[in-house]
Each structure stands twice: as C-alpha cells, then as structure tokens.
C-alpha cells in the first residue's frame, strides 16, 4: 500500500508520542518533525527514528514541503492560528491537536465523513474524543435529550495551557456532545486529581434518553466501545452500562464509566487523556489517507461551496 507521508509540527510530549504511533501505522509514514528548540528530546528521538528534522518550526517545515501531504499540529492554539493559513496556502491538510479550532471538530467513527475536503480539521478535546462516540452510540438507539460528562484526569497530565484556560475544555467538550454526539443539550465537567501514583483518565457519561429498549442501547454502546478499542487499546468500560428509569419522566438515564489507559508510547500510561488525542489524530490521518489514495478528498470543495 502506498503510504501517505506525514509531518509532525511540534516536538513536545504530544508530538513525540504521535511519532511513535505514526511509526506503527500501516497507511501513514512520518517523514519529518519540526520544532523550535534544537535541544528538545523529541527532535533527538525523531532523528533516531529516521525522520528528517528542522529546528525552524513552520518555515523549516514548508521549506521541505515535498516530503509530506498531511501535517499534525501538536504545538499550541496561538501557534496553530498562525500555521493554519500557511499550511493551507501550501495545500497541506492540517490535523489540529490544539484547541485553536480553525477547522471543524472531528471525532473518528462519528463525523469525519461529513468533513471530507476540509483543509483543516480539529480534534475537539480529550474529553470529547473519550465521550462523544458513546453519546453518538446512545443517539443511534434513541434521541438524547441531555448528555453530561465528568472527565477526571491526573494533575500531572494537565499542562499549563489546559490550566490557564480550563473553560476551553468545558465549553468545547459540551459543544462536541451537542453538535457531534447529537445530544440536544450538553454539559462537561473536568476534575484534576493530584493523587500519587497518578490516576488513569476516567470519564463518567450520563445520557438522558427517550424511552427505549435497554438491550438495544446496551448493544449500540458496547459495539462502539469495541470500535474505539481498535484505535485506543486502553479504552474500556469499568462497569456494564447502567440503564435506569429517570424519575418522574418517560425517559431513561444511562450511566457509563469509562477508563482510558495510555499505550505508553512516550507519554506515561496514566495520561490516557493525552493518548486518546494522539490515537484519534492518527485514526483521522488514516481515514483522510484512504480518501487521498482513492482520490475522493477534494481539497477545494469547502471553498467551492462559498
């Protein structure tokens, strides 16, 4: 199979973890990593792994624009806002792991096909990647009036960017539950837990759904968990789905407890919240790759619509 060549922009923890995952991909091949800190460990590891490297950030990357088709941006929201128009001008597809959200939100298995042709896609948030597919699974069995999630992550896995703008997580994730998960209303909560040893990422997902067959709901949810596990092996339900009558109304309350253990490629295993972002990014890249090979990713479609 012809491999699609990928560039990694950002040589921090996320970019480095992403590199190891891309190395394992059958359909993508990482060719170059761009950073701005010459002594960064990520760049050293990239060189070891046979990638080209540049320490001139986006400029360095665009000087070698014949060596890749896709760009994974693992820098910061403000940096990505500068990168996005430059990548677009160079006709490179950007998969944005930052909260910049220049392009539409995508969650693999749920809505990527709606955004074929977009020059830039965004990965929502770790909480979104961990919970939106299951809300969508509920939605395919029954209308979801309300979805609420609580994401609890190890304090050590929350970087300064997340901490300085924690509202970005709650707002973005809630919109993801609505627009992609299909809930009429969404609410997201994040809790940082400093316990040692660090806890694995856990997510509790509540869905208030219309009266429906519990077996069908359960089946739809468990099937989705199986499909997520194909690209996030450490993703699992901690208990069977709890489906109860919602007091006073002809509705059901669905409760799901999800745990995400990271693969430990570069990031520590407890940081399932970061692992699910790099895993989802690779999955999105692979799906885009399929389209590129088949010639069905029309780069200019979104512009043509204007």
């Amino acid at each position: 199979m012809e491999q699609i060549r990928a560039a990694i922009l950002g040589s921090g923890n996320i970019g480095t973890d992403l590199m190891y995952k891309l190395k394992r991909s059958h359909s993508l091949r990482p060719t170059i990593m761009a950073g701005i800190i010459p002594e960064s460990e990520g760049l050293a590891r990239a060189r070891q792994q046979g990638l080209a490297i540049t320490t001139d950030g986006i400029e360095g990357l665009l000087n070698k624009k014949d060596s890749f088709e896709l760009v994974f941006d693992a820098t910061t929201a403000s940096a990505h806002k500068q990168h996005a128009p430059m990548l677009r001008a160079a006709e490179k597809i950007a998969i944005d792991l930052t909260p910049a959200a220049v392009g539409p939100y995508v969650v693999p298995l749920v809505n990527l096909e709606e955004h074929v042709g977009e020059p830039n896609v965004n990965l929502v948030s770790c909480g979104g990647q961990a919970t939106v597919p299951l809300v969508s699974a509920m939605r395919s069995a029954s209308p979801v009036e309300y979805a609420e999630i609580v994401a609890t992550i190890a304090s050590k896995s929350a970087g300064p960017g997340t901490r300085q703008n924690i509202d970005e997580f709650t707002d973005t994730t809630a919109r993801g539950l609505e627009r992609i998960g299909g809930a009429s209303k969404g609410k997201a909560i994040i809790v940082l837990n400093p316990a040692e040893p660090p806890i694995l990422m856990r997510n509790t997902i509540y869905g208030i759904v219309e009266e429906s067959d519990p077996e069908e709901l359960r089946k739809s949810i468990e099937e989705m968990v199986g499909r997520i596990q194909e690209y996030v092996p450490g993703y699992r339900l901690r208990a069977k789905p709890l489906i109860e009558d919602f007091p006073g109304r002809q509705q059901k309350k669905v409760t799901l407890y999800v745990e995400v253990e990271g693969a430990g490629d570069y990031l520590p295993q407890y940081a399932g919240n970061l692992d699910i972002m790099t895993s989802a990014a690779v999955k999105v890249g692979e799906e885009i790759g399929k389209h590129l090979r088949a010639g069905t990713w029309e780069k200019d479609r979104s512009e043509a619509r204007l």
Binding site: V150, T152, S155, R163, K187, V191, I199, T204, R238, Y257
Partner: protein, 348 residues
C-alpha cells in the same frame, strides 16, 4: 482598651447550605432568607448551587430553580450586604460568572483543590476585571501541607484575589492543623486570610476561633449549621462566640438567631447532624459534599455508606468527583454478592 478586631462573615446558608436540601431552595425561600440575613447585618450573602455556579447537573444534583431566578430573588432584597457567589473552575465557567455579576453579585468565591490553584487564574482575573471582590478557596486543605497552602495561596494572590481561605471541606482539620495552615498562609501573602469550616468532627466554631488567633479575618458560616456533610460553622453560634471573645462582626446576635430559628429551620428537610457517615468523612478526610450522594448510592445498591466513603478515601478522590460514588457502591455490591456466593464462605 485596644481597638476591637473586626471579622468579615460570609453566610453561605443559600450556597453550602443547599447541599443539605439537595439544592432544592425555591426563589421565594431564597428571598426570605436573604432578607433576614441582610437585616441581621451579614456582610456577604452567598447564593449558588452547592457545587457553585453551573453545578446543577446529574452529577451534583439538579437545582429546583435556575441560578438566574435564585440570584435575582436574593439581589432584589439585599440592601446593606453584598451578594456573593461560588465558582469551581472545571464546573462553572466565565459565562456563569458574568451572568452572576449582571444580576448584582459583588463577591466571587473561586475554589480549587488545595494543589490546583492555577486553574483559577482566568476566573479570578475576570472577576477582578468586573470589579468584584475575590475570595480564593483552597479546598480539602487537610490534604495539603502548610507549605503547599502557602505556595498555592501565593498563586491566588498573584492572580488578583483579595482573600484566601483555608477551606476544610472534609471537616477533618483540628486546632493544631488549622493553626499551622493559617499561619503559613498569613506569613506567605499580603492579602486577607480566612477559614471555611465543616463540623464533621464538631470542631467548626473552635477551628474558626483558632484561625482568628492566627490572623484570619474572614470566616464562612451557615445559619443552623446547614451545609455539606455535618454542615458548616453555625453562623448564630459563631456570632455569639465572637461577641463573647470581644471580636466585632457587625451582626446583631438576636436577629441572626431569629433568622436561623424562624426562617431557616422550618425550611430544613432534616436536621444537620453528625451521623456515622459524616463523622466517617471527617475522620477519613472525605469531601463533605459527597455525603448525600454516598447515602443514596449505598441505599440503591444495599451497601454500608461508610464502606463507600472509605473506598473514596483510598482512591484519593477530590472535590467534584461525585460521579464515582455510584460506581463504587455498585462494585462493592458485586463484591459482596461474590463473597456470599463463594463456597469457602458457606463452609465458614
């Protein structure tokens, strides 16, 4: 005689107190209580969901009436005092804070776990930029050393907070541990220092006085000792004790007793008391807001709430993790069933 020391009291009957009513205050009740508190001379009157603005959820329990209606009700009757709100970053957002400000809130309590003050930067800065007074709260203070509290308090000071509270969310602190934490905080920051107590070990009033001796000038309290777990420091008792010790709170003792007895007590669904579950929380250092959720989950799955709380403690759960209580109760019930069914148990 030397000048009397003034203590600033924030009454949280209509915020922390709402835990004890599972967040079922009506706007009419809020207006009555707020008017009474205001007339008794309470400086800051706090109104929010127990878990802060935006806390009305499946996880923490839905409020009976929207925050907007409750804040409007309080705002319309407060004449002398200041309307206060609570926000926990990660649960509520800047939009919630703006809404509260627009409805007349003048004081914002911004609370984080004792080690995570940096998640509050954007909310503290926003509140200050809107002209609000900001009180930072370091929750579950018993889980942080005095050095940690000093370090985190400094962060809140840097973001612009006016006051930082040692917040004993589990009611687990005792006079010596209150003393060392308040002292460390007072030595570390130039801004005001205060204390928020819970009564799980029956220490709330005594701990508040210890805090004052160490330089705290801001205290949180609730009439009738309403609040999460075994409740907060009872406002009317605190006012009486402060008065006897010669501190000034600006609150009329008879009037605050009347508010507690005549307005708040009739609204209460059951007395706040030190029961075995809430005592276990103080003893084991578990977040007081978990109490009713743990009771409910334990009942649903037929297990002992104390076992649920001990497991919560083992997992190092912090404020906001109410979601794990049902899972723990469910898992305990399964384990119990397995033990019942195992042959070794039958032989024994």
């Amino acid at each position: 005689m030397s000048e009397q020391i003034s203590v600033h009291i924030l009454d949280s009957t209509l915020r922390d107190g709402s835990h004890a009513l599972s967040h079922q205050f009506t706007a009419e009740q809020v207006a009555r209580v707020a008017r009474g508190l205001d007339q008794a001379g309470i400086e800051m009157i706090e109104v929010s969901h127990g878990d802060g603005l935006g806390g009305s959820t499946v996880t923490y329990g839905f409020s009976k009436q929207s925050e907007l209606e409750l804040l409007e009700a309080a705002s319309s009757v407060i004449e002398r005092g200041k309307l206060a709100v609570l926000l926990l970053p990660g649960i509520g957002t800047k939009d919630d804070l703006k809404m509260a400000r627009d409805l007349g809130a003048k004081v914002a309590q911004i609370a984080t776990h004792v080690t995570e003050a940096d998640v509050a930067q954007q909310h503290i800065e926003l509140a200050k930029s809107m002209g609000m007074e900001v009180i930072g709260m370091l929750m579950l203070s018993h889980m942080g050393s005095p050095e940690k509290i000093a370090e985190q308090g400094k962060l809140m000071e840097r973001y612009g907070a006016d006051v930082v509270l040692v917040t004993d969310s589990a009611g687990a602190l005792l006079p010596p541990t209150v003393r060392e934490r308040v002292r460390a905080l007072r030595d570390a920051i130039q801004i005001g220092v205060g204390f928020h107590g819970h009564n799980n070990l029956s220490m709330a009033v005594a701990n508040s006085i210890i805090a004052i001796e160490e330089g705290a000038r801001w205290l949180d309290a609730c009439t009738c000792g309403l609040g999460a777990g075994s409740g907060n420091t009872p406002t009317e008792v605190l006012v009486a004790v402060l008065d006897k010790l010669g501190y000034s709170s600006g609150i009329d003792l008879w009037k605050i007793m009347d508010v507690a007895e005549d307005i708040v007590r009739p609204i209460m669904q059951k007395p706040v008391r030190i029961g075995k579950a809430s005592l276990t929380m103080g003893y084991a250092g578990v977040y007081s807001s978990f109490l009713l959720h743990a009771d409910k989950a334990a009942e649903q799955f037929g297990v002992d709430p104390r076992d649920v709380l001990v497991e919560v403690g083992k997992r190092g759960a912090v404020g906001g993790q109410e979601d794990i209580l049902v899972e723990i109760a469910m898992t305990l019930a399964q384990k119990n069933a397995e033990v019942e069914a195992s042959p070794s148990r039958r032989l024994a």
